[in-house]
């Protein structure tokens, strides 16, 4: 994982992640397990105004029991409850979303010069598009469905 991905999946700005890893003496390799643990630690810091070192330790302990709601505290005293299963579910969804929409890479954003070209010059077959436009939406969706079923049948 890169710093940009780590920001996307934890929702924290880059400086916060870099500072946290520096403070916790974790290497800047942005390994998945470190980012996952830091994401939970950041949530603990923000929700319970906890010190980062403590939150990191709690997060590490909690993630040892990924299926459970983990409780920290003494009998009769305040109890900290972490629904680890739910946190991991949200983290997995954030990772999937980051893979689908990757963070912007460094450098100048691409200029969409090609958009100024006529579609035919860009390689779009206008005759085929005209023929397709003459079909009904139902016919177009049915042929898409057939293609989809074919692709699904090829999947392992």
């Amino acid at each position: 994982m890169t710093l940009a991905y780590a920001c996307k999946v934890t929702g924290a700005p880059p400086k916060r992640i870099q500072n946290a890893f520096h403070l916790l003496r974790v290497g800047f390799e942005y390994r998945l397990e470190d980012v996952r643990r830091l994401g939970l630690a950041i949530w603990l810091v923000d929700s319970f105004v906890m010190e980062l070192n403590w939150a990191w330790e709690f997060a590490g302990e909690a993630l040892k029991s990924p299926q459970e709601v983990v409780r920290f505290g003494h009998p009769g005293g305040p109890v900290l409850e972490i629904d680890v299963g739910r946190y991991l579910s949200n983290f997995a969804l954030a990772c999937a979303a980051a893979l689908k929409n990757p963070p912007r890479t460094a450098g100048r954003p691409s200029r969409a010069k090609r958009l100024k070209m006529p579609p035919a010059k860009f390689g779009i077959d206008m005759d085929a598009l005209r023929d397709n436009a003459a079909r009904t939406p139902e016919e177009r969706l049915r042929s898409l469905d057939e293609n989809w079923k074919f692709v699904q049948s090829l999947r392992p």
Partner: protein, 152 residues
């Protein structure tokens, strides 16, 4: 997949590539993108349907537990999923268009056999592609704009 969602009475609008195909695009797409109503009852229906399809995050290792219920849907505005029926992306809004209510207002009905569902209008789809501004959308945008000119 659309019939399964309709069967579960999920309120949704088809957006993305499939909506483009319905409008005449020739691009092949292998996932379904929907914008769903994020109210509690609809989230519960969608979560139940996704559970039946064994939905899980796409492209992510599955060794860890994954809870998919209405609370998970509430916390994640974007679901990128792999299901038994195929790849499905669910959103609660569309960039450049707005939230579900706006998307729904800018949608139009489509009938496929006995099945009726809603797709995002061509004009709104063009707005969404422009707002996304991703290089991979350039060609799709050109095609949609050409279709808009053809249908004008």
């Amino acid at each position: 997949m659309v019939s399964g969602l309709a069967e579960s009475e999920v309120r949704f609008v088809v957006i993305g590539g499939v909506a483009g195909v319905a409008h005449g695009s020739r691009r092949v797409t292998n996932d379904l993108d929907i914008c769903y109503d994020p109210n509690a009852e609809n989230r519960r229906r969608l979560a139940a349907r996704l559970g039946r399809w064994h939905a899980c995050p796409r492209g992510v290792e599955l060794s860890l537990p994954f809870v998919l219920d209405e609370v998970t849907l509430f916390r994640a505005p974007m679901l990128i999923l792999r299901t038994d029926e195929g790849d499905l992306d669910c959103f609660t809004g569309v960039k450049g268009v707005g939230t579900y209510d706006v998307v729904s207002a800018l949608s139009e009905p489509v009938n496929v056999g006995a099945l009726q569902f809603r797709i995002l209008s061509l004009a709104a789809l063009i707005k969404a592609k422009r707002a996304a501004g991703r290089p991979r959308d350039h060609e799709a945008l050109l095609e949609l704009e050409a279709l808009a000119k053809l249908s004008a």
